[in-house]
């Protein structure tokens, strides 16, 4: 076996290499790239999604791949065009929610004492107040649109990240590298940004992915209830119109099935990527896999008991 340190890579090429090596991560990344491409260049090919192109409620055919809506618009065009805003809000909110969570959580964990008590109280209160109802109430009062939606999702989504990152900061707070930085007289802000945050980069990445899954799901749910801008084409408003036009009671499955599948595929891709990253960055899982490979190689069958591998 070659020493893994032989091929140490850094930066993006390290990630690209690790993703390619892990099956889950590569499937997830490929799916995501597909949807990103769809969002970026797809709308140029499909034409105007609001155009009335044919008889309403046509089943899928060669002319309209996914049929037409109750208004006579092309479902496929709506699906492709909707991808752009839905993914943009999803990833934007995912990133922002983690930034806010990191700001609050790391501050609370690093400074401790009264700061911690106060900030913890705030995010615990936000955690315990049910998110969707709060989001609905806020969205109902603000003018509808992507910005409102993003704001609402950030307000209801940041607290979980703050809680996780606070706990992680507490774990690092008394480690040697942080103590050393304090002794050398570095400022608290610098220690947080240059020492603590980089140390939990893999956790932050997992949080961004998890928050994006949340943001896409919650966004589609809110828009489904009619809280988005219903004149704009997004995945959520597509479902809103399908429900509003009684797609179910007229048997027009093609007006809601493709959008839900797209939402699920993006969510599934993100969670594959997440567990793939977990396998890449978690040495314990890597060790267990190496051990299983070794067992297979030597032709042994693992026993009934749980294989606990200790490094």
């Amino acid at each position: 076996m070659s020493d893994p340190r032989d091929n140490v890579r850094t930066g993006w090429s390290a990630w690209a290499w690790a993703i390619r090596r892990d099956r889950k991560a590569s499937i997830g990344a490929a799916l995501l790239l597909f949807f990103a491409a769809l969002a970026l260049i797809g709308p140029w090919f499909t034409g105007d999604p609001d155009a009335l192109v044919g008889v309403p409620l046509q089943a899928p055919s060669a002319a309209h791949w996914l049929g037409t809506t109750a208004q006579g618009q092309d479902v496929f065009a709506q699906l492709v065009v909707g991808t752009r805003i839905s993914l943009a809000i999803g990833f934007g909110v995912g990133l922002f929610v983690v930034l806010l969570g990191a700001l609050v959580g790391v501050t609370a964990g690093y400074f401790g004492g009264k700061v911690d008590a106060l900030l913890s109280l705030v995010f615990n209160v936000f955690l315990v107040i049910p998110g969707l109802p709060l989001a609905i109430v806020i969205a109902a009062y603000l003018p509808s649109g992507p910005l409102t939606l993003a704001l609402v999702l950030v307000v209801t989504g940041w607290a979980w990240n703050a809680r996780v990152l606070r706990a992680q900061t507490l774990a690092y707070r008394n480690r040697d590298f942080v103590s050393a930085a304090i002794v050398t007289g570095e400022s608290s802000a610098r220690i947080i940004v240059r020492e603590i945050l980089p140390a939990m980069s893999s956790l932050l990445l997992a949080q961004v992915i998890g928050s994006t899954i949340y943001a896409i799901g919650a966004q589609v749910g809110l828009e489904f209830l009619g809280l988005g801008d219903v004149s704009r084409v997004t995945w959520g408003t597509n479902l809103y119109w399908a429900q509003n036009d009684s797609a179910l009671l007229t048997g027009a499955w093609w007006t809601f099935a493709p959008t839900g599948l797209a939402v699920a595929l993006v969510g599934f891709a993100l969670s594959l990527l997440n567990s793939g990253f977990d396998e890449i960055t978690n040495p314990r899982l890597e060790m267990e896999r190496a051990w299983r490979r070794e067992l297979r190689r030597t032709g042994q069958v693992p026993g009934e008991s749980t294989p606990v591998v200790r490094g």
């Binding site: 109280l121 615990n124 209160v125 955690l127 315990v128 107040i129 049910p130 998110g131 969707l132 109802p133 709060l134 609905i136 109430v137 806020i138 109902a140 009062y141 603000l142 003018p143 899954i213 799901g217 589609v220 749910g221 489904f224 209830l225 009619g226 809280l227 479902l239 399908a242 429900q243 797609a247 179910l248 009671l249 048997g251 499955w253 809601f256 099935a257 959008t259 839900g260 939402v263 699920a264 595929l265 969510g267 599934f268 969670s271 693992p302 008991s305 749980t306 606990v308």
Partner: protein, 327 residues
Amino acid sequence: MLYLLKRLGFYLIAAFAALTLNFFLPRLMPGDPATALFARFRGRLGPEALEALRETFGLTEGPLITQYFTYLAHVFRGDLGISIAYFPAPVSEVIGNGLVWTVFIAGSSLVLSFALGTLLGIAAAWWRRGWIDTWLPATFTLLGAFPYFWLAMVALYLLGFTLGWFPLGHAYGDDISPGWNATFIGDLFRHAALPIGTVVLGTMGGWLLSMRNTMIGVLGSDFVNLARAKGLSPARVVLRYAARNALLPSVTGFGMALGFVLGGSLLTEVVFSYPGQGYLFVQAVRNQDYPLMQGVFLVITLAVLAANWCVDLLYLWLDPRTRDTAS
């Protein structure tokens, strides 16, 4: 005891925060909140009734702090204003009618999904790499990626519309009068099966995975080995020794999941036109029935807080360590 009181104090603060949010949100709107809030009442209410309604929301002439206390006083008396859509019924009455349905749907989905998911998680960890462990976590992760309400739409389409096995909506049939008899109760369950089933399907995976992963860790620990070495029956080792300890993180998660499952069941209610809080909530938003909307938000939040406190009680019973530090 101290632990429970501390938690109670926290929930009181949270309830207070929710009330405060409820008070300030209408004031976030551009323009005069009173005008927007009561625009739809115009022509239906006399000036005196409108004045009373303004007072309920604290929209008086006084300074903000006085308005706030006026609002709080009304909420504590259970006065949440008058609904526009169900005029002239008071909001508290409208909500009361829908509450039982939501508690039924959300409560049974939550309990069923937790029980089934946890049991399957135990099974997956015990027969590790067996068929349960190989297929179920992946299947449920995939199912969990779908929005619940979309699963509900598909289930309604396939099982309700195409196959006709289940009714297409509402809590019970039009032709049946409510009462404690077998026909009515049977009809209730037939109507509730799809809403509950889809939420359970969408949320079970989380419990399954969390229980499986914790169980695997616990099964490798010394006290479980000791229990096995003592020659205890496998069922006893798994349930009394390993599962009881592995349950703790799931119970902590239970409190967190409450709000989440409730959100999911609100959306599901909309798909099935089920007459619970979610349906009311959305109707209120669409009709710009702001008093009803805020009332529903408040009631849902208070219900979640109360349920969380019950989870804390459960935790106290499960984990003796909390009792020790408490005394």
